[in-house]
């Protein structure tokens, strides 16, 4: 069952070796995302634009829109190239908004100019060298965490005292197993997440692939949509290839274990509760998937892209998302499987 994998001493060592061997230092990490602006300007709490009191930033924080107003080339790998043609939007407020707000740009320009004047000093006079909010080392937080770590160490010591030893067996035979221990599979996924984040500079996100593919349909159906014109442009992106990989990986895994075969219904639990109707399964599958994708859009990612990848960089967004998942899922699961009045 490969149950013993995570506790084998060579495993962590192997992960470290794998990360170091296959990685090359990224000099141009900044260009590895769709919008390099955000990657450089808004990471690790430095210059968080969304945090600023500047309403034009807050208003546009829902997408990677920097270049629409500021100009420049977000796709360039070097700072010099990316900053070519940068504009100071408020210096020419009348024209800055017309790129997206074709009909009513003056409305926004006036509002922003008013807000800018009321701020001291006005940002269009002082170039936007927004003072990076200093990440000050907080001794109190450190001390609290050290005490917490000490307490948890004691708890962990008692918890693992009874850890049982398991037999080991040849590694390759694991490939044909129908199922792995969730811990072994989890270690693999964790390494994949770390790789994607560190080497590719991307979260391991799948929901975005469907946004990008749906955008082909979206821009054709709604040609005047701002969203499909500027925010969600269609494209076969990195995430789409990731999705193709997932399809292949699942096929390979199920083929090797003899699990791959065509079927219409889930193997267990569905039929006793909902019956053998294929139509019903398809309808529930369809609407479930619609909700899942919409939820991922609103939250900013799915289980892999936000909960796991975001959680692995310790972003609060991930934990809030998981909280919401359970808040939504528990009552619904109860509803489907409630005791029906006899």
């Amino acid at each position: 069952m490969c149950d013993d994998l995570p506790v084998r001493p060579w495993f962590p060592l192997l992960s470290v070796l794998a990360i170091t061997a296959l990685a090359q230092p990224l000099s141009a990490q900044c260009a590895s995302n769709a919008s390099s602006c955000v990657t450089c300007h808004e990471t690790q709490g430095l210059r968080p634009v969304l945090d600023s009191a500047q309403i034009w930033h807050v208003d546009h924080g829902f997408g990677d829109l920097c270049a629409s107003c500021h100009g420049g080339d977000p796709a360039s790998p070097t700072k010099e190239e990316a900053h070519l043609g940068l504009r100071q939007p408020l210096a020419d407020a009348a024209n800055s908004c017309t790129g997206c707000h074709t009909d009513d740009s003056s409305k926004y320009a006036e509002r922003y100019l008013r807000a800018a004047v009321s701020m001291a000093p006005p940002p269009h006079v002082t170039p936007p060298t927004t003072v990076p909010p200093k990440v000050t080392a907080s001794p109190t937080a450190n001390r609290v965490l050290i005490s917490l770590a000490a307490l948890l160490s004691v708890a962990l010591f008692f918890a693992v005292r009874h850890a049982r030893a398991t037999e080991s067996r040849p590694l390759l035979s694991c490939l044909r197993d129908k199922i792995w221990s969730p811990y072994s599979a989890g270690v693999l996924l964790g390494l994949v997440v770390a790789f994607a984040e560190v080497i590719c500079g991307r979260p391991l996100a799948l929901s975005g692939a469907f946004d990008k593919l749906a955008a082909y349909l979206g821009r054709w159906l709604f040609p005047s949509s701002q969203y499909y014109g500027h925010i969600m442009t269609a494209g076969v992106t990195w995430q789409v290839w990731l999705m193709v990989g997932v399809l292949a990986g699942s096929f390979a895994s199920s083929k090797l274990s003899g699990e791959a075969r065509f079927r219409w219904l889930p193997d267990t639990q569905w039929e006793p509760r909902f019956g053998a109707s294929r139509t019903l399964r398809l309808v529930v599958a369809f609407f479930g998937a619609v909700l899942v994708q919409m939820g991922a859009g609103i939250a900013g990612g799915c289980t892999s892209g936000l909960a796991i990848s975001g959680g692995a960089v310790l972003a609060p967004a991930a934990f809030l998302f998981m909280l919401g998942m359970f808040a939504g899922g528990i009552p619904v699961a109860w509803f489907w499987y409630r005791e029906r009045a006899a």
Binding site: S250, A260, G329
Partner: protein, 187 residues
């Protein structure tokens, strides 16, 4: 080109791990919300802690200056999560497992799941300009992490985070109530 290759390889291992963990089963996913099968939680928490250590190590060793951090805006994170949870607990799907289910030959995932994802993405595209600008503003903290938020050392935050998760894993392991274990797979 190299980028596409990396994406395919990572996707391959991702899909492999989903299938091997048994996340391609409707019952596995739904039973998390009924507290009858904690496989998904074990899988996710393990991935979280390994991923977190790997990322911090990668940054420390200089392979990257930073990792992309998703923006926190409390209301939209939670509201999105609730909608996501409703769909997940009904169909037993999340975007990743739909693709993995399609990979092992499930036709409900091909026909219902994948088309649902595309339609869901379109629906979000229509709603986005109406709801997101106001929704995303509530409790918007920007691209923060627990470390930047508290001002503590990232390694220390990571240590406590890892300890909490490992403790949770051990406690959940003690519960030992995986009713879909042995897996429903395999005829």
């Amino acid at each position: 080109m190299l980028d596409v290759f990396k994406a395919l390889m990572l996707g391959l291992l991702f899909g492999w791990s989903l299938q091997k963990a048994g996340l391609t089963h409707y019952a596995r996913i739904v039973n998390v919300y009924r507290f009858r099968d904690m496989t998904v939680i074990r899988f996710m928490l393990t991935a979280l802690v390994v991923g977190a250590v790997g990322i911090q190590l990668g940054i420390e060793l200089g392979f990257a200056t930073n990792a992309p951090i998703p923006p926190t805006s409390m209301l939209s994170n939670v509201v999105g999560g609730v909608i996501f949870g409703v769909g997940m607990a009904s169909a037993g799907y999340c975007p990743g497992t739909i693709v993995a289910e399609a990979g092992e030959g499930r036709l409900d995932a091909w026909l219902g799941g994948l088309s649902g994802l595309i339609v869901g993405a379109l629906a979000f595209g229509l709603l986005q300009p109406m709801i997101m600008p106001s929704l995303a503003r509530v409790g918007a903290l920007g691209r923060v992490t627990l470390a930047t938020l508290t001002g503590a050392s990232p390694w220390l935050v990571l240590l406590v985070f890892g300890q909490v998760i490992v403790l949770m894993l051990i406690l959940i392991g003690r519960m030992g109530n995986d009713t879909t274990n042995p897996p429903p797979a395999g005829d």
